[in-house]
């Protein structure tokens, strides 16, 4: 009985995968108020219409990719593109194994690997603005960010320690655009993660930090109440392109033709 239940559980995600592989939803875009303050472009950011994967890329999907392009296999990847913990939660270079499930979001992937995956599917990683725009929605509203209850809900996920076992991708209710798992599952790469040059206070002229920047227009936080999104920004701006971590995955995006 227990065995049958376990088998059933194991089969469900596979069925989901076959149906929903690389499933995109279209987002209309528009003028969007970021939590970041862009000194060079004050006011609302203009987001062009784009398509975004409904849910993050899974272990099974990433395994199919590395089988097709062995340059991204754990044993073959160039160290300059992925650090030593790349895909370390898999059993082998061409097997997911017992420590990870096929339908979990793939983690321990570098920006280079995520980028290569999306490129191989004629897609790209979303920009930060696209991600932030999509993630501002809850189940019914396109912009739920002013709602303290919504803020509380996503923040409670960020404040929990990483679960021992990541839930499967695509289990949470879709947001108003039909996108799932932007909060509450894993963190995600953006194409321009290394454009997030955020400093606590960028007005200290002559400060060693400001000297690193060419030109004005550093980013600062415009909405200090939105901790959940600010944590994303802080995390992305601390990463190098070859870094991998146990709770960082990705999904792809596409321009609307």
């Amino acid at each position: 009985m227990l065995l049958r239940a376990a088998l059933l559980l194991a089969l469900v995600p596979l069925a989901g995968l076959a149906a929903g592989a690389a499933d995109y939803v279209r987002l209309p875009g528009g003028a969007f108020r970021s939590v970041l303050k862009y000194e060079d472009a004050p006011g609302r950011q203009k987001i062009a219409p784009f398509e975004l994967m409904k849910r993050p890329v899974t272990n099974a999907e990433f395994l199919a990719f590395v089988k097709k392009d062995p340059r991204w296999r754990r044993d073959k990847v160039a160290r300059v593109f992925a650090d030593a913990s790349y895909l370390e939660h898999w059993d082998g270079h061409a097997a997911i194994g017992r420590k990870a499930l096929p339908a979990q979001p793939v983690v321990h992937v570098s920006w280079f690997a995520a980028q290569a995956y999306c490129k191989a599917r004629s897609a790209r990683l979303p920009t930060w603005s696209e991600w932030e725009y999509a993630a501002a929605a809850d189940e019914t509203r396109r912009d739920a960010r002013a709602d303290p209850a919504w803020r509380e809900r996503i923040l409670s996920w960020y404040s929990r320690p990483n679960p021992k076992v990541l839930p499967r991708a695509g289990l949470q209710a879709p947001n108003a655009y039909g996108v799932q798992d932007l909060h509450g599952l894993a963190w995600e790469w953006t194409d321009d993660f290394s454009a997030l040059l955020v400093s606590g206070d960028n007005r200290n002229q002559g400060d060693a930090d400001t000297m690193k920047f060419c030109g004005a227009g550093a980013l600062s936080m415009d909405d200090r109440e939105n901790y959940a999104v600010l944590m994303r920004v802080a995390m992305l701006s601390s990463l190098e392109a070859a870094n991998t971590t146990g709770n960082l995955g990705f999904r792809c995006a596409k321009d609307v033709p």
């Binding site: 160039a78 160290r79 300059v80 920047f213 060419c214 227009g217």
Partner: protein, 192 residues
């Protein structure tokens, strides 16, 4: 006697060719930035894979030519390291500037900087990748940047020392005409 030395010269020349050809054929180290498959267009309009710069230690940095603020300092930083080197050391190093603004940094714009800053092109190469490749180049060099609404760029600056195979040996974020002594020491070690 004369023929003998000629033969020796021919043999030595042939051997040298074989060794340098082999050096190119040996697989790149896994941690080499030249693993990145990108093409660079230089100030003379020549387009080559970045990996064609293999073969000698190099200082590499990112910049853009229309930058008013810190970018002139980036060239100063390269020159400051150069000044610390003996003529023999200078002959063994390359200095590569890679633009983050390929749309405006055409060979013409790059060669204007070469002329204005009196850069010795035996060492200095100013290049632009394709626009879609800039963030990958920045990724392997650990440079962060954002294009601003007015076409300027906000970016971190780093001088990166690569060995002949493209492995990062050292980096400094201290820019300007006062060279970072630890970094200069690393450059000298790489040229020994």
């Amino acid at each position: 006697m004369k023929n003998g030395s000629k033969l020796l010269f021919v043999v030595a020349f042939a051997l040298a060719c074989v060794t340098s050809a082999q050096a190119r054929k040996t697989p790149l180290p896994s941690d080499s930035v030249y693993q990145l498959d990108v093409q660079l267009l230089d100030q003379d309009g020549k387009r080559q894979p970045w990996s064609a710069q293999r073969g000698k230690p190099r200082l590499v940095t990112m910049f853009y030519t229309s930058c008013q603020y810190i970018c002139p300092l980036i060239v100063d930083s390269g020159k400051a390291v150069e000044r610390q080197l003996s003529p023999a050391e200078r002959a063994r190093i390359g200095i590569t500037l890679i633009s983050m603004d390929p749309v405006r940094d055409t060979p013409k714009a790059l060669s204007a900087v070469v002329a204005k800053r009196k850069l010795d092109t035996r060492r200095w190469t100013l290049t632009s990748p394709r626009k879609g490749d800039v963030r990958q180049v920045a990724g392997v060099l650990g440079v962060r940047y954002r294009e601003l609404a007015d076409g300027e760029f906000n970016h971190t600056s780093a001088l990166v020392l690569l060995d002949a195979q493209g492995r990062v040996l050292a980096r400094t974020e201290k820019m300007g005409s006062q060279p970072d002594p630890e970094f200069v020491a690393a450059v000298k070690r790489a040229l020994r």
